[in-house]
Amino acid sequence: MSLSVRDLRFAYQKTPVLSGVTFDAAPGELLAILGPNGVGKTTLFRCILGEQKRYSGTIEIDGTDAGTLSPRERAHRVAYIPQTHGMTFRFSVRDTVLMGTSHTLSPFGSPGRAQERAAGEALDRLGIGKLSDRMFDTLSGGEQQLVYVARALAQQAKILLMDEPTSSLDYGNQLSVLSVVKDLSRDGYTVLLSTHNPQHALWYADKVLALSDGRVAAFGRTGEVLSPALFGTLYGTQTQLYETPGGTVILPVPNKPESKGDQP
C-alpha cells in the first residue's frame, strides 16, 4: 500500500508544528524520517494514525483519504510499532501479538483459531516463536521491539510506522531490529521509520524525509539527499561522509584548534 501526504499542516493551539509537509512512500520502500527533537515527527505519525484529526492537507492511503477511515479500517492498513515501554499489566508474548488481530474480530469477539495462527506465523517469521510463552516484561529491549513488530505483522497492515524503534536498544539490537525491518520492506511493506541516527538512514533507508521547523528540509532517495549540508541544517553540526567498502559512513568533523600561521 502506498502512502501519500500532501501539504500537511498542523498546529497545537496557535503554534505551528507541521507547515506544508509533502511526501510519499510506496510498497517496498523504507522511508527514514530525520529531524531534531520537537520537529514534529511524532505529530506526523499521530496525524497518519488518526489520533490527531485537526490537520489540514491530505493523507491518502492507496488513494483513500485517511481522514474518512474508521479506527478499524485504518488498522487494516496501517500498523504502529511503538518504542518499548512498560506495561501496567503483564501479558504473555503470544497475547501481546494476538492483540494485533483484534480489528479482524467482531466488537464482542475474542480471538479464535485463525487469529492464534496469524499470531504464531508472525512470531515464527521473525524467528521469535520460542518466546511465545514468556511474559513480555521479562524480555530484553530488543526482543520486546521484535514482539511489537510481530504484532504489527499479525495485524496484516501493509504500512508500518515505527517511532524511533532503536532509541533504547544496544548497538547489536539496533542493527538486528533494523535489518528485520529492512527485510520487511523488501517483502512489500511500506515502512516509515523515524530515527535520531543519520547513519541508520544511510545504511537502511531507500528514501529520506528530513524535517526542520515543521517543514520539509529534504525529501528523496537516500544517496541523493543526505549531505553534510543537510546535517548542518538539521543538527547544526559539521559532518563528513566517507565512502567505504561497506557503504557510506557519516562521521562528525572534530572541532580542530585554530591553526596558528602557516609554519611548516
Binding site: 489520533e51 479506527p71 488498522a75 499489566f89 501479558f91 504473555s92 464482542f108 510463552d133
Partner: protein, 345 residues
C-alpha cells in the same frame, strides 16, 4: 508446552473457583443460629425445585428449618454472591480502563452518590425500597455528572475522569455529612450510619430480581468485551492504532461497570475492598489477560463476599456490618499479597 500449561492452568483455576463457590454456597445454607444439616438443605432445595414443575416430594423436616433455609438464608446468600461478583467485575473493569491497579468500583464517586441518595431517602422517611432506588439513582447520577465534566475538559480523558470523580465524590460526601447533621439523632442518624457501613441482613427473596436484572444487564457486555479491555489497558494511542474506537469502548465499559456497581451498592450499602482486592488476587491466579481474569474475579468475588457475610452473621450474637469486616479481612490480605514474592507465570 508452557502455553498449554498456561491455558490449562486458567481452566483449572476457573473450575476450582467455581467449585469453591458452590461448596461455600451449600455450606452457608447450613450455617446459622438454627442448625440445618447439609443433607436436609439439599432435600429442601430439591423439593422447591421440583415444585416449580408441579411435582412434590416427601417432607421430613420442620417448617422452621424450611423457613430458615429458604426465606432467611437463601436470599441473603444469593445476594452476597451477586454483590461480590458485581463489585469484583466492576473493580477489574475500572482497573483495566484506567490502567491503574489502585482503581476500585467507586473511583468515579458512585458510592458517595449512592450514600447521599440513601441518606436523603432515610431523612425523608422513605421505605426500604425507596432507599434502594434513591441509592441506585444517586450512584448513576454522580457518574453521569463526572462523565459529562470529563468530556468537556481538555487534556487526557482518563485523568479528567479520575479528577472529576474525586471532586464530585467529595461534593456528595459533604452533602451526606450535612444530611447526617440535620438527621434526627434518635432514629434517622443510626439508620444512615448503619446503611453506610454496608449490610446484607434482611434481604428478601423479592429483592433478588431487583438487583439481579441491572447486574446482568451490565455484566453480560462486560464479559463480551473482556478481550477488548486488554487493548484499552495498553493505553489510548496503542489501542487506537490496533483499531479500537477508544472513546466509545471506554464509555460502554464505564457505563456497564457503573450500572453493576450502583445495583450492588444500592442493595448492600457501601462495601469497600472487594473491588480492589479481588482483581489483584485473581491476577495472581490467572494473569492479566481479561479473558480469564474477569470470570475468575467474578467467581472469587462472589466466594469472598459470601464468606465474609457468613462471618458477619455467625461470629457474634449481634451482626457485624459487612463493610467493617471486608476491611478487617481485606486489608491484611492485601498486605500479604503485596509482600508475597511475585512468581512469574
Amino acid at each position: 508446552m508452557q502455553r498449554v500449561n498456561g491455558r490449562k492452568r486458567r481452566t483449572v483455576v476457573l473450575l476450582l473457583a467455581g467449585g469453591v463457590l458452590l461448596a461455600l454456597f451449600f455450606a452457608s445454607l447450613t450455617l446459622g443460629r438454627y442448625p440445618v444439616p447439609l443433607f436436609t438443605v439439599v432435600r429442601i432445595l430439591w423439593r422447591r425445585f421440583l415444585s416449580l414443575f408441579g411435582l412434590s416430594g416427601p417432607v421430613t423436616w420442620t417448617p422452621q428449618m424450611e423457613n430458615a433455609v429458604v426465606s432467611v438464608r437463601l436470599p441473603r446468600i444469593v445476594m452476597a454472591c451477586l454483590v461480590g461478583c458485581s463489585l469484583a467485575a466492576a473493580g477489574t473493569t475500572f482497573q483495566g480502563v484506567f490502567r491503574n491497579p489502585m482503581a476500585s468500583p467507586d473511583i468515579l464517586g458512585a458510592s458517595n452518590g449512592a450514600a447521599f441518595g440513601a441518606a436523603l431517602a432515610i431523612l425523608l422517611g422513605c421505605s426500604q425500597q425507596y432507599i434502594t432506588v434513591f441509592a441506585f439513582l444517586g450512584a448513576l447520577l454522580t457518574v453521569a455528572l463526572v462523565f459529562l465534566i470529563a468530556q468537556r475538559a481538555p487534556g487526557l480523558r482518563t485523568v479528567n475522569l479520575i479528577l472529576a470523580g474525586i471532586m464530585i465524590g467529595s461534593l456528595f460526601s459533604a452533602g451526606t455529612s450535612y444530611l447526617k447533621l440535620v438527621a434526627d439523632p434518635s432514629n434517622q442518624l443510626p439508620a444512615i450510619t448503619y446503611w453506610l457501613l454496608g449490610s446484607l441482613s434482611g434481604t428478601r427473596l423479592s429483592a433478588i430480581p431487583v438487583a439481579a436484572i441491572p447486574m446482568c444487564v451490565g455484566l453480560v457486555p462486560l464479559l463480551l468485551l473482556r478481550w477488548r479491555l486488554n487493548l484499552l489497558s495498553l493505553g489510548d494511542s496503542e489501542a487506537k492504532a490496533l483499531g479500537v474506537n477508544t472513546d466509545l469502548l471506554r464509555a460502554v465499559l464505564i457505563l456497564c461497570a457503573t450500572l453493576v456497581t450502583a445495583a450492588a451498592i444500592a442493595v448492600s450499602g457501601v462495601i469497600g475492598w472487594v473491588g480492589l482486592v479481588i482483581p489483584h488476587l485473581s491476577r495472581k491466579l490467572v494473569g492479566s489477560d481479561h479473558r480469564g481474569l474477569l470470570p475468575c474475579a467474578m467467581l472469587t468475588g462472589a466466594s469472598f463476599l459470601l464468606l465474609v457475610d457468613d462471618v458477619s452473621r455467625n461470629l457474634l450474637a449481634t451482626e457485624i456490618p459487612i463493610g467493617i469486616l471486608t476491611a478487617v479481612i481485606g486489608a491484611p490480605f492485601f498486605i500479604w499479597l503485596l509482600l508475597r514474592k511475585e512468581k512469574t507465570l
